[in-house]
């Protein structure tokens, strides 16, 4: 049992590192990640659970971190966008977003990358429709969905990434 209190001592493992902090019970998980821990890769777009910019993977499940309280994450293992690259090497999805111009302003990108990472883990070769359904919870206001879908599809197909002129090609 976690004892009834307006503050909670929580332990959360994020991208392999364990953090122990005392938080206010009312603190949103996204504020804990960004403000308390300084991991600002996870964005806040709407803070009403509509835009998906704050998407993270918690205990293997894609969730919106503005729709959880920090104490709910006590004991959880979390992955954020900072955890996708290893030793300075971008993940295949991150490379693909770069190569296919899968972003314009970049604000939604951390959430898109987490949603796409989750999608491909659970469905390594999704159809275009499955990709579009997979990122339905993530809003891009630059209307960049076409290139985002292309970026994800390229990784799913294991296609050769276009490293040449920077112009996205059909995949």
């Amino acid at each position: 049992m976690i004892t009834q209190s307006a503050t909670q001592a929580i332990e959360v493992t994020i991208n392999g590192k364990t953090y122990r902090r005392v938080v206010e019970s009312r603190q949103l998980l996204v504020h804990f990640i960004r403000d308390t821990l300084g991991l600002t890769g996870t964005h806040i777009g709407c803070d009403t659970g509509s835009c998906g910019a704050c998407s993270i993977i918690m205990n293997g499940k894609l969730v919106k971190s503005c729709m959880l309280l920090a104490p709910q994450a006590d004991g959880a293992v979390i992955e954020t966008v900072e955890g996708l690259a290893h030793d300075g090497e971008l993940s295949a999805l991150q490379e693909s977003f770069r190569d296919h111009h899968g972003l314009q302003c970049g604000y939604c990108t951390p959430g898109m990358l987490m949603a796409a990472t989750y999608l491909l883990r659970n469905n390594p070769s999704p159809s275009e429709e499955e990709i579009r359904r997979g990122i339905k919870g993530n809003i891009c206001r630059c209307t960049g969905y076409v290139n985002i879908v292309r970026s994800i599809k390229a990784v799913a197909d294991g296609a050769q990434l276009d490293m040449g002129d920077g112009v996205a090609k059909e995949v």
Binding site: Q4, S5, M67, L69, P71, Q72, G137
Partner: protein, 292 residues
């Protein structure tokens, strides 16, 4: 901070959760939180203690019963329903509805119990569970009691749940081969909040033996439209029969009006979605091997 100060507690059992509810007047249950957390951000509900029941094993199971019915723990998420082989094999429509709620993030957190206990008229499960004649199993310090889904939803954000009670599970009757279930929504975008919705349960043996037609988003709670059910009974359930039955949704029927649709518009659309829901149910019985 968006939320006002609130205490958080994570009990180890349903009994402990009930104890906490009974000793804190301002306590509220927190399951998936996909509606409640937003309500708290807007400070429209006054909650002093959040009792987190999302991970209680007692509320997280899906089991079939010898009679073919299925019991679903209140804290099973939409995504878990969609990935349950048991649900797919015996009650396919529950999995289908779960897989068409909003988006993946919400399906990973939102629970069937929360969907019912909030009693928001846009929620997906209430009309389906009324159509399927589900039973809500409610636990309190004095034991268990059962309430039929039709009696469970009382009003906008109101259910039969009393202070100190917890919805423990939902029992859904079996779906035999001569029964079909339909579920049709009119919404602005795919899988988004419905403007009008209908779920139909039809028992067909040459002619319609029995039908339940539920309309949702036309009033604060899902309602069975009995004149249409009566019009269907005994008919051969041809598309013409079904269209005729839907046309009994008459001018005496006055759906709620709001920014998404006038009462007249909702009445017209109720005829359309109810007709389609019954058609879907009938096609499932007449199609290959019946439906779930």
């Amino acid at each position: 901070m968006l939320l006002k100060s609130v205490e958080y507690v994570r009990p180890d059992s349903v009994a402990q959760a009930i104890e906490i509810l009974n000793s804190n007047e301002g306590a509220a249950l927190l399951a998936g939180g996909q509606s409640l957390v937003n309500i708290l951000k807007h400070r429209v509900a006054s909650v002093d203690v959040l009792v987190d029941i999302a991970t209680l094993e007692e509320l997280r199971f899906v089991e079939s019963r010898p009679d073919g019915s299925i019991e679903i723990g209140a804290c099973i998420t939409y995504d878990e329903l969609d990935h349950s082989e048991l649900i797919h094999s015996s009650h396919e429509m529950i999995a289908w509805v779960a897989s068409h709620i909003e988006d993946q993030q919400i399906r990973n957190r939102g629970t069937i119990g929360g969907n019912c206990c909030l009693s928001d008229p846009t929620n997906n499960f209430p009309p389906l569970l009324v159509a399927m004649d589900a039973t809500m199993n409610i636990q309190s310090s004095s034991g268990m009691r059962q309430v039929r889904a039709e009696e469970f939803f009382k009003g906008y954000l109101m259910t039969a749940i009393q202070p100190g009670e917890i919805l423990k599970s939902i029992t859904v009757p079996p779906v035999p081969a001569d029964v079909g279930i339909g579920y049709v929504s009119l919404s602005v975008g795919e899988d988004s909040k419905a403007i009008v919705r209908s779920s139909a349960w039809v028992k067909l043996n040459g002619v319609v033996q029995e039908a339940r037609v539920v309309l949702a988003r036309v009033s604060p709670i899902p309602v069975r439209y009995q004149p249409m059910e009566e019009a269907l009974r005994g008919s051969s359930a041809t598309p013409e029969d079904i269209a005729r039955a839907a046309s009994v949704i008459g001018s005496d029927f006055e759906p709620v009006a709001d920014s998404h649709g006038s009462s007249e518009y909702r009445r017209e659309m109720a005829r359309v979605v109810a007709k389609r829901a019954v058609l879907e149910a009938v096609e499932k019985v007449r199609g290959e091997g019946g439906s779930k």
